[in-house]
Amino acid sequence: MSDCELDTDPVLDDPDEPDMEAGAEHWLTGRIFNIQRFSTEDGPGIRTTVFLKGCPLTCLWCSNPESQQTRRQLAHNDVLCDQCGRCVTACSKQAIELTGTGIRVNRDLCDNCGDCVQVCGPRSLRMIGDDKTVDEVVEEVLRDRLYYRSSQGGVTCSGGEPLMQAPFVAALFERCQEAGLHTTLDTTGHGSTKGLKSVLRYTNLVLFDLKVMDDALHRKTTGITNRQILRNARVVADSPAQMIIRMPLIPGVSDTDANVTATARFVQQLRPGIVVNVLPYHRFGMNKYNMLDRPYPLGDAQPLSHERVAQIVGMFEAAGLACEIVT
């Protein structure tokens, strides 16, 4: 990777990071929390979306909180719980108690050993995160290849942040492209540039998230600076991959006029003809916080009105950018 630009961020660009140029390693494993077939909203056509576990960001509005930690994690869906209490007995750490409507897991005690999952009848408890080899994932992805062909779809890596597992994603995409599939990377943009470039070699489309342009607010709401994200956005814009900007519209955070204007200005400079997708805030992830025994960080924030969403679309269009609402 001779053209790799040297980056100053020591954390993100580890010089010892394995170089992928030698060829994809098919035996690599990825930590995956879901493979969703017939995905219709994560890129063109009918797709299979591979959700990778682990994310450097901790966005307040995250709808996949189970994706944030890299390690395997216990989750409990109280809707299915029948209060049998077998998990309480099975837990050697005494981390589980019954609440009357479900269970509560003391996360300080829980070591995610999974013993409780083994005894759970109604499958309310489950472990999130599976390690799968590239071959295993490719095998599953290829099962729908005829649907991709007729709909011009393909495979998408989402997360979590796929770039945290860049060697795996690069290897997976390489194999998928060999099989003639369209590949889409759905990324927060935060990751090593080197890793990003290794993935980009086998990527047809990047769905690139831009959340908040103001760095202070970005740090406050996602837990991390946006410097690397903006830098990587330029890297993607300069690559041959197709690029779509995705912007979650979070009430009081990213939906302000100032942020929309700043985002539009930044996007204009990236490359001509770029498309912006706006994703109105939804609360579908709410229950997942319960499943992980975490409070829902956005409290009772309400989704944006249709009028406001339309207004924001109008602002992007006024800046000469094509803009679509994605739900």
Partner: protein, 849 residues
């Protein structure tokens, strides 16, 4: 036969029409115009309201006049007696024209009137009549009838009690092995007696009817009679037995057709006298128009779309009066009506809006079909238990023409436009999909799925339907002319009657597994209905369990074949004649033979069938036994049997282990391979038999809500299913809640099944209307359909997730684990959503509907 072809070739009106058709077919279907049509006008709304306000009502008039005629025709030829009874009923039954009606005629005098076929099941009908509280006869459909009707039916039942044609078959079967087959029927694992030689699911050669009218058919029948007499006279003074039979039958045809022509004239007269009394000049005009139409058709060929619709309706409700069973004829509605529609539109005599309202009237007529008895068990109307108020009228749209070109037209689209507006539960609509179908029709079909919500239209592979008929010996051009009939019979409508109401067996494969688990004992009847295949507690290998099931299956088929052989001959000999229905089937008039006496073009299509279902639960159960008992050893076979006997009470842990075992429908190799094996082995076994006429049997694997009906008598199963609950829906669909990997995976699983020789492998799927909201979503849906059919899928029906289903899913999450929420960059199953968010989605769904 030659007579028929000559007629079509020389009929000038058709030739004139053909030039118009070509002019209208070229170019794009004007979808924007179609989308403006409102088929649910105030008139139709009022009619639908009247339907909703009325209750299913049993009408005794058919039985009364039918029997009245029979009392006076003793000693005559049975075909003629039928024809005279039919004509008598048509001449005397009450007729009425309701407010707002443009299309007229009905099988009964009630909006929701059911005609009991008294001559088929007199004893059972009598038993039903003696029940004190008949009005609450079924949990599902509350039926009522007037005292006079009760009296007519009682008298008719008395007359028929020792004359009904099923008597001999019935007695033969009851005598065999002490009525074991009857017990199997009670366990809902066989067709229960009586084995009524009756006729279901008729077809009709509508093209011919439209070209020459009933009068033309009468003329042909008369010519055939004259030809026979002339030929016979040349060879001597006496008619041969065969010739005499033919003449009797052809005369019966003439009596039947004249009966319906006369019936139409009665409507014309009624309309005319009603017009005289009518104050409103607009309504008066409509009534006069109705009079004009009924004077013209069905006697003569129709000249307009309105007349053509009325012609169809006379044909169809006449059939229902003659046969008095469910399953009404519709056929390729958009094909045989197209010449009239396009001509009227092109010549400016009809607007699309007017055509839409006429179709709305047609839907209201279809709604009037009310089922009465089906399987006829004493005192129960099982059919209604299966499917309340569904008469199984099935409209086929789209597909290919007889020469293999796209058959989509504007009328196909208009039909779907009206269907989604009137939102009625019947008729079924079947859309034949192929890659060359007009994109406008594809779009309209998807839109109708979304807006109607009730799985209308169902999608069918055009190619598979044709191939199915080719395999049954149907000529290429005829095979392309297929239509769905009944709930899901692949038919050649121009010569199809589905005479084979008596199926060889009604096999519930989950039941067979149950017998294998309990060494031949049936848990519902507590009798040994299966054979002894060994106590599973002694099994040391899973393969022994599989073998036990296979032995039960083979022995069951052999046993039902033995029964079938015993009654087959009497079944055919005693069957009723159907001169009215046969008159419209290709080659019947030319052959001089009734369809129940081997008239009609394709006898193979009339072969008896094996109805097999319940594979999914059987297969998933067998695999659960393999995984949980023999591999993971989470329990012993003895534990499992105890658990099943106790309906899993106290064995929740074991049940959950079984529920968690791999299931068919997720594109996983092991469960799918086992399902394929069960499916295919059953087919091979059944296809190895031949009936008394050397025909192969039909493999009929439809759904028709059978799953809940048979589920009631099926005990707990090792896949975790509890006793008495639903079995897997349809024959190819994964068990509800078990396909957790989405539609592509489920479709892949279904496409692994070998559906050769099978009629009606069904896949039912649920879809959120939000998926179909945008153009992009609709395109993805189209790609999904396309790939499914290219992979060899035959049928798929998309039931849109309505708010009611979602509310059920909220209340019973464990059986809705398969529902996925598809949102950008987000991954979740429905059961993982918080109630607040679920409510949000429910209200969103409401907005989309």
């Amino acid at each position: 036969m030659s007579a028929v072809i000559d007629d079509l070739a020389t009929a000038t009106p058709i030739t004139v029409r053909m030039t118009k058709i070509i002019a209208a077919v070229l170019g794009k279907i004007p979808l924007a115009e179609i989308n403006k049509v409102n088929g649910f006008t105030e008139r139709i709304q009022r009619m639908k309201q009247r339907y909703l306000a009325s209750r299913p009502t049993i009408c005794g008039q058919r039985a009364r006049y039918w029997t009245e005629s029979y009392r006076t025709t003793e000693g005559e030829h049975p075909a003629k007696r039928r024809a005279k009874a039919f004509a008598n009923a048509l001449a005397k039954k009450d007729i009425l024209i309701r407010d707002d009606e443009i299309l007229v005629g009905a099988p009964t005098r009630h909006i929701r009137g059911a005609n009991p076929g008294v001559e088929q099941l007199p004893i059972h009908l009598a038993a039903l009549l003696d029940r004190v509280d008949v009005t609450a006869g079924s949990e599902v459909t509350v039926t009522q009838f007037a005292d006079e009707d009760r009296q007519y039916l009682r008298e008719a039942a008395e007359y028929w009690k020792d004359k009904y044609p099923a008597k001999r078959s019935f007695e033969t079967e009851n005598a065999l092995d002490g009525g074991k087959m009857h017990l199997m029927g009670e366990a809902r694992n066989a067709l229960r007696p009586p084995l009524t030689p009756q006729l279901f699911t008729p077809g009709a050669d509508m093209d011919k009817i439209m070209a020459i009218g009933f009068r033309g058919h009468i003329k042909q029948a008369q010519e055939h009679i004259d030809a026979i007499r002339t030929r016979s006279r040349a060879s001597g003074p006496y008619l041969s037995h065969e010739d005499r039979e033919k003449i009797e039958w052809l005369e019966a045809v003439i009596i039947s057709l004249e009966g319906m022509i006369h019936h139409a004239h009665r409507y014309a007269a009624l309309a005319r006298s009603a017009a005289k009394m009518e104050q409103d000049p607009r309504r008066q005009k409509e009534l006069l128009k109705t009079a004009e139409v009924c004077d013209r058709v069905p006697e003569n060929p129709p000249r307009s779309f309105h007349e053509a619709l009325q012609t169809y309706w006379f044909v169809a409700f006449g059939q229902e009066i003659e046969k008095a069973t469910t399953n009404a004829f519709v056929g390729r509605f958009d094909q045989y009506l197209w010449p009239f529609y396009s001509k009227d539109i092109n010549e400016g005599r009809l607007t699309r809006q007017e055509a839409g309202e006429l179709l709305g009237c047609m839907f209201m007529k279809w709604l009037e079909f009310e089922p009465f008895m089906f399987l006829g068990q004493v005192g129960k109307r099982d059919h209604q238990e299966i499917s309340p108020s569904n008469y199984y009228a099935n409209v086929t749209l789209g597909g290919t023409t007889r020469d293999g070109k796209d058959a989509s037209n504007e009328l196909s689209c208009l039909f779907l436009q009206v269907a989604k507006q009137v939102k009625t539960h019947q008729p079924h609509v079947s859309l034949r999909y192929h890659r060359l179908m007009a994109p406008e029709l594809l779009e309209k079909g998807i839109e109708c799925n979304r807006d109607h919500g009730g799985g209308i239209p169902a999608w069918f592979s055009d190619r598979m339907g044709t191939e199915y008929l080719l395999d049954r010996g149907v000529r290429w051009d005829d095979a392309r002319d297929w239509a769905m009939a009944g709930c899901i019979n692949t038919s050649y409508p121009k010569s199809f009657a589905w005479v084979r109401n008596a199926v060889v067996s009604f096999c519930n494969h989950s039941k067979l597994l149950e017998w294998a688990l309990f060494n031949g004992m049936d848990t519902w009847t507590n009798k040994k209905l299966g054979i002894e295949t060994g106590d599973p507690r002694t099994f040391t290998r899973w393969e022994q369990m599989l073998e036990a099931y296979e032995k039960q299956r083979d022995s069951f088929y052999d046993y039902t074949m033995k029964n079938f052989r015993a009654y087959e001959k009497s079944y055919y000999e005693d069957a009723f004649y159907f001169p009215y229905i046969s008159a419209f089937l290709q080659d019947c008039i030319a052959d001089g033979r009734d369809v129940t006496r081997f008239g009609g073009r394709y006898q193979q299509l009339e072969a008896f069938s094996f109805v097999d279902r319940g594979f999914q639960d059987a297969s998933d159960s067998l695999l659960a036994i393999k995984k949980v008992i023999f591999e993971d050893k989470k329990g012993t076979m003895a534990d499992l049997l105890d658990a099943l006997k106790n309906n899993w009470e106290g064995y929740e842990e074991l049940r959950q282990a079984c529920v968690a075992a791999p299931k068919y429908g997720n594109d996983e190799d092991e469960p799918d391979a086992l399902m394929c094996k069960l499916y295919k082995d059953a087919t091979d076994r059944c296809q190895s038999y031949r009936d008394g006429y050397g025909r192969r049997f039909t493999m009929f694997r439809q759904g028709a809500a059978w799953s809940s009906w048979a589920g009631k008598t099926t005990g707990a199963l090792p896949n975790g299913r509890k006793s008495g609950t639903h079995l897997g829906d349809a024959s190819a669909s994964p068990v509800q809640g078990c396909d957790v990997k989405g539609p592509t995976a489920a479709m892949n699983s279904v496409c692994k099944l070998d559906s050769t020789f099978i009629e009606g492998p069904l896949l039912n799927m649920k879809f959120s209307p939000a998926t179909l909201r945008t153009k992009g979503g609709q395109q993805k849906f189209a790609s999904l359909l396309d790939t499914y059919f290219e992979k060899g899928g035959f049928q798929v029906q998309f039931n849109v997730l309505d708010t009611e289903t979602l509310k059920q899913a909220q209340a019973a999450p464990e059986s809705h684990r398969d529902l996925v929420v598809r949102v950008a960059g987000y991954s979740a199953f429905w059961v993982e959503l918080s109630p607040v968010v679920q409510d949000e989605i429910i209200s969103r769904t409401e907005q989309c509907m």
